[in-house]
Symmetry: C2
Amino acid sequence: MAAANETAAQRSRHDPAGYRLEPQIGYVLRRAHQRATQIFNSVMGEFKVTPTQFAALAKLDDVGRVSQNELGRLTAMDPATIWGVVSRLLKQGYVVQSTDPNDARLVMLELTETGREAIDRMKAVAAEVSRETLAPLTEEESRKLLDLLSRIGS
Amino acid sequence: MAAANETAAQRSRHDPAGYRLEPQIGYVLRRAHQRATQIFNSVMGEFKVTPTQFAALAKLDDVGRVSQNELGRLTAMDPATIWGVVSRLLKQGYVVQSTDPNDARLVMLELTETGREAIDRMKAVAAEVSRETLAPLTEEESRKLLDLLSRIGS
DNA sequence: TATTGTTATACTCTATAACTATA
DNA sequence: TATAGTTATAGAGTATAACAATA
C-alpha cells in the first residue's frame, strides 16, 4: 500500500493512485461526446450531414439570412471552423452566399430551397438522437445533466 | 402564435418552437467538451501535448508495456486514432516501439525515460484542469455530473 | 488606429473502409 | 475466420496569420 512519504515519481508507475484518467471530467466528456456523435450518425446517416453541419442548417432555418461569422457565434464555432462547415454546405447546395450592401466585409448566408427541404426532414427525426443518447437516464436525470453541462459549457 | 393544425414545414421557418438546437444533449456536450479542451490547453500548454496524447501517456505510465490497439481500447480511441496519436508521441521521443515474440502482428509500446519524466510533470498539474473545468459547480454537482456522463458515455 | 470578417494554412482528432499480415 | 495493424480519405476543431473593410 502507498506510504505517505513516497514521491510522486515512485507512486505513479504501475500504481495509478496518484492520478486516474477515467474519472477526469475531460476524459468523460470526450467519451460521452463520442457516443452522442455515433448515435447522431446512426440516426441521421441517410442525410449525409455531420452534427456541426446540422447545427448550422438548423440555426440558419431559424434565423434566416445571417453573416457567416454570426452563424458561427450562434452555433459555437470559431471563424475558421464555421468557414469549413459552410464551404461543405455550399458544395452540397444547401446554402447560398450573397453580399451585404451596407458592409462589404460580410458574407451573408441563406438556405436554398433544397436546404429548406433537407432541414425540414432532418428536424423531423433529430429529436430521436437526443432521446437515444439520454436513454440510460431518467427524465429528471436528463434535465439535471443538461443543466450541469450548460453551466460548464462556454 | 402557433396554430395546432399548421404543418412542420410552415412552423419551422423563423419559429424555432418545433426544434431548438440549444437544449439538445449533443450540442451541449460539444460546447462543454470545447471548454474542457481550452482549459486543458491553457493549463498544460507548456508540455505541448493534446488531451488524447496526455491520455495515452498517462495510461502507458499506469500499465507499462502494452500493444498499440490495446492502448487505444484503454483510452477510448479506435485503431486509426490511436495510430495517429502514437506516431506523434514517437516523433516527440516519449514512446518506443518493440515487437512481441509471441505475436508478430503486435506493436508493443513503452514510455521512454523522457516520456516518464514528462508524464510525471504533467500529472502533477493535470488535476488543475479538472478543477478549473468544474469550477462553476459545487463538489456534489461535480460528482453527479461525472456519474451521469459516465452512464451515457460508451 | 483598432476592430471585425473572411480566407488560408497547418496540425490534430475522429470515423470508416480497404488492405495486409498473422493467429 | 478473426484479430491486429496500417493506410487513405473526409470532416471537424483549433490556432495562427494575412488581408480587406469598417468604425
